[in-house]
């Protein structure tokens, strides 16, 4: 846990410091342009360094997970969350969500009736409410076709 805890501020430090260095060198921003990002970024980097040091030295503020007994995340749930992106990319914003709901619900223990009902409701909301009533043109075609 300590390693993960130290990793996060280290990553932040590297990204922000890297951007700032790029800003001064490669991107060539003038001082008025880079001043505020430098200020905020430098403060953040300094705080990250302190945080990493304290974490490694063993001082650990209570993390939320311990306090709260948060459920550990499963890799399958991560996959499912990103899967919606895939469905939307492949089937558009109307059929993608409907198909996703159908597949997810069925695969996770809901009955056919519930899965189909919710999928149909999704079609109603996306096509009926958003496209027809609110005139927000959610793409019905797959995104790779646009």
């Amino acid at each position: 846990m300590t390693r993960v805890e130290a990793l996060f501020p280290s990553l932040l430090f590297m990204i922000v410091a890297g951007l700032l260095v790029a800003g001064f060198t490669v991107l060539g921003y003038s001082w008025p342009v880079i001043a505020f990002p430098f200020g905020a970024g430098a403060i953040m980097c300094a705080l990250c360094v302190v945080e990493v040091a304290r974490t490694i030295a063993g001082h650990r503020p209570r993390t939320l997970s311990e306090e709260e007994e948060l459920e550990p995340l499963t890799w399958s749930s991560v996959a499912w969350v990103f899967a919606l992106g895939g469905f939307v990319y492949g089937l558009g914003f109307v059929f993608g969500p409907a198909a996703y709901l159908l597949v997810y619900l069925r695969a996770n223990g809901s009955s056919w009736r519930l899965s189909i009902a919710i999928g149909a409701a999704s079609l109603l909301v996306t096509w009926g409410l958003f496209i027809k009533v609110l005139r927000v043109l959610l793409p019905t075609q797959p995104l790779w076709m646009l």
């Binding site: 932040l12 008025p32 905020a40 705080l47 304290r54 503020p61 209570r62 927000v136």
Partner: protein
């Protein structure tokens, strides 16, 4: 003046106006309850419907739907941990904890009553101030906006209990992120890296949804359990809601203070309404006993931001109506709606149509109450949401988030960024980096730079030597140092 009051009262009780409100409230409630749809997006969807309506009718429609949508945003903040707007992020901290403990009804009841009272306060202030508003607004220039935003940032440190250094990292990261895109002075796009999407920098809606909604959805999917993890023994009833409403009166001093803070901050054009809820939350924390338990489910952590939020909207109507200068982003949109129905807010408007302006203030108050009451009636049904198993709720929530994000600005890249920020959100949640702090930094960072640069150019380095600026600095310092006042007093005594 009196005729204006009476005439305004007469105007709002026309059938068309009341019908517009009656129509707008349920629509606003439903739209506001959809996670992924922020208050501003909802307003954007609804503005086209007002084309062709009579002025007061159209505005009543919008004000009522906005009041309802705000309530919806508070509900999703409590029930789902997904803020409807940035200003709801303050409610998430304690409100969602209560929901997880099975006390969603309690939090909702408190939130609704606090909103109603805050809204009433804000609208009352609006009515009192409208006639005399102009000189007050004109005394708030760029330096004042700068110091107010700075004070807002300072409160970031207060927001995160248990890990203040991590809260500060979150806040400064937020500020850094807000500075991507066109710099306000020279117009040079910073760190856009050739991506057209980043010319304006990161966008608020994907950030807010990614930070709050994705971690919540992931947790629900992983556990498969409902949001209310414990305490599902308790029967769902109105009892909890009524208890929550009564809690507002138990803490009446804090409620009034938060309402006052909200309306005053709302009156200042430029700072925008997001700071009001955070400042109120922080002030409540500073003045409460056992401040370190904030963030664990203190009811004051729900009452304060909710009261401030609605008070702020009433306050924001003041510069909008008095000078035609929007006091917040939603007011900017409302201003557009004014023009749509053929009105031009400003001193001329007030001189000629004071009764119309007052009528809007009444509608504001009425809509707040009506929305709170309707939402209260719905609250029992809403609490069921916290009992729905995660394996059913989570995918539905995710779909709403994705669709709501696209609908906001017609951009599929926004949806991509929701997932990117989702990764950040998960890391921050698990490692106890305060996410509202990041959001606050993100909202205020660019504002701070903007007003600092302008103040410097317009006044030189002595720009802080202005009475209102000094007043803001003093009040902010007092507020920040209040919990430590005993130590400071003893240090002073020992001198």
């Amino acid at each position: 003046m009196l005729e204006a009051f009476l005439s305004a009262g007469g105007q709002i009780f026309q059938p068309a106006v009341l019908a517009a409100m009656a129509f707008a409230l349920p629509i606003g409630l439903i739209v506001g309850l959809l996670p992924g749809i922020s208050g501003i997006s909802a307003l954007a969807f609804l503005i086209p419907f007002t084309f062709g309506m009579q002025p007061l009718v159209g505005l009543a429609f919008l004000l009522a739907s906005y009041a309802a949508v705000s309530q919806g945003g508070s509900m999703t903040a409590i029930l789902l941990g997904v803020p409807g707007e940035v200003s709801n992020a303050a409610t998430v901290m304690d409100g969602h904890k209560l929901a997880k403990a099975g006390k969603a009804g309690y939090a909702i009841g408190a939130a609704l009553m606090a909103s109603a009272i805050g809204g009433l306060f804000g609208c009352a202030l609006l009515i009192i101030l409208l006639p005399i508003m102009q000189p007050v607004i004109l005394s708030f220039a760029s330096p004042e906006n700068f110091f107010l935003s700075l004070a807002g940032i300072a409160f970031i440190a207060v927001l995160s209990s248990g890990a203040p250094s991590r809260g500060l990292i979150a806040g400064s990261l937020g500020i850094f992120m807000s500075l991507f895109g066109y710099d306000p002075i020279e117009g040079v796009p910073r760190f856009w890296m050739g991506s057209e999407y980043l010319l304006d920098g990161f966008r608020l809606i994907p950030l807010a949804l990614g930070l709050f909604a994705i971690p919540e959805i992931l947790a629900l999917m992983s556990s498969g359990k409902s949001i209310a993890r414990q305490g599902s023994v308790e029967q769902i009833s109105f009892r909890q809601g009524i208890e929550g409403a009564l809690a507002v009166f138990r803490h009446w001093g804090m409620t009034l203070r938060s309402s006052a803070l909200g309306s005053v901050i709302g009156v200042m054009p430029g700072v925008g309404g997001t700071t009001a809820t955070f400042v109120a939350y922080a002030a409540a924390r500073q003045t409460a006993a056992n401040p370190e338990t904030f963030g664990q489910g203190r009811i004051e952590g729900v009452i304060a931001p909710e009261a401030a939020k609605n008070a702020e909207e009433g306050g924001a109507l003041v510069p909008t109506l008095a000078l035609g200068i929007p006091g917040s982003a939603s007011m900017a949109m409302l201003l557009g709606a004014f023009l749509v129905v053929g009105l031009q807010p400003g001193p001329e408007f007030l001189a000629k149509h004071m009764d119309l302006a007052l009528a809007l203030a009444y509608i504001c108050a009425l809509a707040n109450f009506a929305a709170s009451f309707l939402m209260f009636l719905l609250s029992r049904t809403l609490v069921y949401v916290t009992r729905v198993p995660g394996r059913v709720l989570a995918p539905i929530l995710l779909v709403f988030v994705v669709i709501g994000t696209y609908a906001a600005q017609n951009s599929a890249t926004d949806v991509l960024y929701v997932f990117i920020f989702g990764v950040l959100g998960v890391a921050m949640e698990r490692l106890n980096y305060n996410r509202p702090a990041l959001l606050l930094g993100f909202v205020l960072g660019e504002t701070i730079e903007r007003y600092f640069q302008v103040s410097l150019k317009a006044y030189g380095w002595l720009f802080f030597m202005r009475p209102v600026s000094i007043a803001i600095i003093v009040i902010a310092l007092v507020c920040l140092l209040w919990p430590s006042r005993r130590q400071i007093a003893s240090l002073w005594g020992r001198r």
